[in-house]
């Protein structure tokens, strides 16, 4: 029999419902994997085995009473440590929030618990979700379960910022995990670790209770082993929330039930601007494979133009830090979290000392950038200009979607890099998001599905971007790729 920890969301849920195994058995199996991998992978900041068991017991009890178990009934998951969880430390992987225990539960996590999911623990991430490698976490970087096939033993990045989520799902520490995506933080780590992740349309998932990075971009989404599991979990996470003014007041479609990999009559756009000079050959090949698979699924392939693509990354690195510089002002040592009050110091000294000690280097860098671009005399040149670019990028997509239903592109410009490889070069690090950021700026649903391995034996992801609210179209195209890519690779267990 397959191990329980090899099962995904749908298989666990259906197995629990059918009585093939109990939810407690599932939780115990994953708890054991979490504990065994912690030293090697550092995927969790806090493990909560008791929470997982408690939720599982509740599901088993419901089953005994013949009650419905929920969309996620009996499925234990990992929770990115950006979601506030009542009674469980919530840090955003920062020192400034170390020891902070919220009295409230984020809307998205509360919805998941309501649907029968249980929590295995709080997953590591880049500090305040700022990073593409998980190296900015105050609690040490996550290590990818993947290794290159070159015989070397280089520790690889699991991607970021949802690197704990990606590592944990690919290493079978949890069947699925929550992620958040501001400029690729679900999609890039999913691509780096051979799993599937979707960032829905901006506003689908409530931001209430998620530690804010860049409010106009932040969006939660599921990370799991396949498209079906993502569809199920997204249904549990999404929905209108009156506590979030930017939440979409739309019903949540039955995405999982309506999955359909037949793309006859659909048009897939290929944006030629994404085919850059010096593109990684394996990445280029995987894109060509994707095109062939979608054609095979019945889709018509069309060339589309996204002319302002090259301005997306600079615009993103103005808008996101600008919002972050303001969103992170609340971490001031006055009410909660770290307070550094040197002897005889006043309020200003306390702010300075607390923030100097509490924020990591990358967070400080972005606060400085954000403060600079919003300051008097620079605002128009940077912020206003970036907002105009953002509008143009949205318009590019809207025009492209007149000619196609979804857009296919690589998720990231390369496979996973080694830890430390880009740490001294922020620009090289930021370039990881070059394919992911445009969809973020336009608020569009976008997902990454595994496409295969590169010549180093590392996973590559393909990205599908859809029209606003058309998660279904994105999931369907993702499923068509998944069925043809036949991606079954998984990291060899070395931990």
């Amino acid at each position: 029999m397959t191990e329980l920890t090899d099962l995904g969301v749908a298989a666990i849920r259906d197995g629990v419902a059918a009585g093939s195994f109990t939810a407690v058995e599932v939780a115990e199996a994953f708890n054991a994997n979490v504990a065994a991998a912690q030293d090697a992978l550092n995927a969790f900041i806090v493990a909560t085995p008791g929470k997982a068991i408690e939720a599982a017991q509740a599901v088993d009890a419901k089953r005994a009473r013949g009650e419905p178990l929920g969309k996620m009934g009996g499925v234990p998951i990992g929770m990115k440590d950006l979601f506030a969880t009542a009674g469980v430390q919530t840090t955003a992987a920062s020192h400034i929030l170390e020891g902070f225990v919220p009295q409230y539960e984020s809307t998205v996590s509360a919805k998941l618990w309501d649907e029968g999911a249980g929590m295995l623990g709080k997953l590591n991430l880049d500090q305040f979700a700022m990073g593409s490698s998980n190296e900015t976490s105050y609690f040490g970087n996550v290590i990818s379960p993947w290794k290159r096939n070159d015989g070397g033993n280089a520790a690889l990045a699991p991607g970021g910022s949802s690197g704990g989520s990606s590592a944990a799902v690919s290493a079978r520490l949890c069947p699925a995990a929550t992620g958040t995506d501001t400029g690729g933080s679900i999609r890039q780590p999913a691509a780096f670790t051979g799993i599937t992740g979707i960032k829905p349309t901006y506003g689908r998932c409530s931001r209430w209770g998620i530690v804010a990075f860049a409010s106009s971009l932040d969006q939660a989404g599921p990370m799991a082993r396949d498209v079906t599991d993502c569809a199920i979990m997204l249904e549990a996470m999404a929905g209108f929330d009156p506590k979030d003014s930017t939440s979409l007041d739309l019903p949540v479609p039955a995405w999982a039930d309506n999955l359909d990999p037949d793309l006859k009559g659909k048009k897939v756009g290929i944006p030629h601007q994404y085919r850059m000079d010096g593109m990684d050959a394996d990445v280029a090949k995987s894109w060509d494979d994707g095109i062939a698979w979608l054609k095979d699924a019945g889709a018509e392939i069309v060339d589309v133009s996204l002319p302002h693509t090259q301005y997306a990354l600079p615009a993103y690195y103005i808008i996101a830090p600008a919002e972050a510089s303001s969103n992170l002002a609340r971490y001031d040592g006055v009410r909660y979290g770290l307070r550094d009050l040197p002897d005889g110091s006043g309020l200003q000294d306390m702010y300075a000392a607390t923030r100097a000690a509490g924020f990591g280097a990358e967070v400080k860098r972005r606060i400085l950038i954000g403060t600079y671009v919003l300051s008097a005399g620079f605002y128009d040149a940077y912020y206003t200009q970036a907002q105009k670019v953002r509008t143009l990028i949205s318009r590019d997509f809207m025009e492209a979607f007149e000619a196609c239903d979804v857009i296919l592109a690589p998720t990231a410009p390369s496979a996973a890099f080694a830890l430390g490889e880009n740490i001294d070069d922020p620009l090289a690090m930021y370039l990881n998001d070059v394919f992911a950021v445009p969809a973020s700026l336009a608020g569009l649903p976008a997902m990454s599905v595994p496409a295969g391995l590169n010549r180093e034996g590392l996973p590559l992801g393909l990205q599908i971007v859809g029209r606003p609210f058309d998660e279904q179209g994105v999931l369907n195209a993702g499923l068509a790729i998944e069925q043809r890519a036949g991606f079954t690779a998984r990291p060899d267990k070395w931990w």
Binding site: R207, A329, R330, D332, R335
Partner: protein, 500 residues
Amino acid sequence: MTQSTYRIQGTTGDWEVVIGLEVHAQVTSKSKLFSGAATAFGAEPNAQVSLVDAAMPGMLPVPNEECIRQAVRTGMAIDAQINKWSRFDRKNYFYADLPQGYQISQLYHPLVGEGSLTIDADEKAGIPEAKTIGIERIHVEQDAGKLMHDQHPTMSYVDLNRSGVALMEIVSRPDMRSPAEAGAYLRKLRAILRYVGSCDGNMEEGSMRADVNVSVRKLGEEFGTRTETKNVNSVRFVMATIEYEANRQVDVLEGGGKIVQETRLFDPGTGTTRSMRSKEDAHDYRYFPDPDLLPLELDDAFLEDCRNSLPELPDAKRARYEGELGLSAYNASVLTAEVETARWFERLLGETAVAQDKQPAEVAKQAANWLISELFGALNKLGMSLEDSPVSPSAGAELLALVGKGTISGSIAKQVLEKMLETGEGANAIVEREGLKQESDTGAIEAKVDEILAANGDKVEQYKAGKVALFGFFVGQTMKAMQGKANPQVVNEILKAKLG
């Protein structure tokens, strides 16, 4: 238009004062601008703080429709342009009373645009005629919390009860030219806010406070550099601030100095202002659109609803009192200055008309005169305001009906009112019990008149010889003899007949 003649007399000549006011008015609403927390004044520190107000991680603002509605209604009451599309911006700065590290305000696209209000002529105060003061905008923003420095020897405590409370910032044009004009503007604005019900105007509790912008110039010159004195919390202090600041600026300028654009504080103890921070130290607030909030878009139905809910405003009411009710300009102005007074008067008027079976216009003068000359005076002596008057409008109407029907005289009515205030009894009961009914029986009055004329034969002679002023003496004697209860009209008639 006749200009204000208020001038600062300097050694180099006369200076004109230019004043603009930014009034922060707390919106009357049960909950805060972006959170469900309560807003009542006087609660225990930090008893009215939601997760949003304390800026806990991941908390988000959601606009409170009632606050927006009140600001729109206020805008309509000053005939302002209502912007159907407006937006919230963040004003970023660090302070311990500002949990988010930014205030949500409206810099670029305020809810309410250009409007105005008219201050009334007040000859005595140096306002020769009514004057229109421009209002540039009203925007909606969050209040900050409060620091308490007197609770601990080395630490300051923070009370977040006010944090997130909705304020309207009402920004005038620099259209005022004297402390009196500024005072009149504030009082008028306060009256309008209270009529509309969008702010209780309670300056003691901090529901209304003003930032006072003052500059001086020689007549006909460009505006001078202004200073801004923050958070002045009474009309009197605003006027004192202007007085002091204008004189200080003239002294500086005439001494060869320059006015620096700065923020100042008013000290109520000394009546002076002092510098808080100069422009060089001014914060760079890094305003930008709040990404947690969508633009505020108002539809026609909402605006229609706001407009329909507006009461009759002070200017319109005053005009109606003068025109339809025939009241004097002074009485109409007194009765409409405060919404409570107008409401009280209108109830009194309605009841009085019914009690005497007349049209309101026929009894309006009687009611207005009684309220202004009698009741206000009596309450004043007791140190009471109209709101806590023991005499209700219907009790007043009962009293006025007795006078109107000739049952008691005006002077007896004064006594009755005093008894009413003392005992809370009704006018009819007091008059009945104390036997204060007016005597109109000609027989009884005639008998008394005959006695008095007989006893004062010499004065009758003098009267007949042409000293007609003695008529008053006879009236007085008769009334005295009748213990004030004789109908004065009957007394007059009888005396006239008997004296020939």
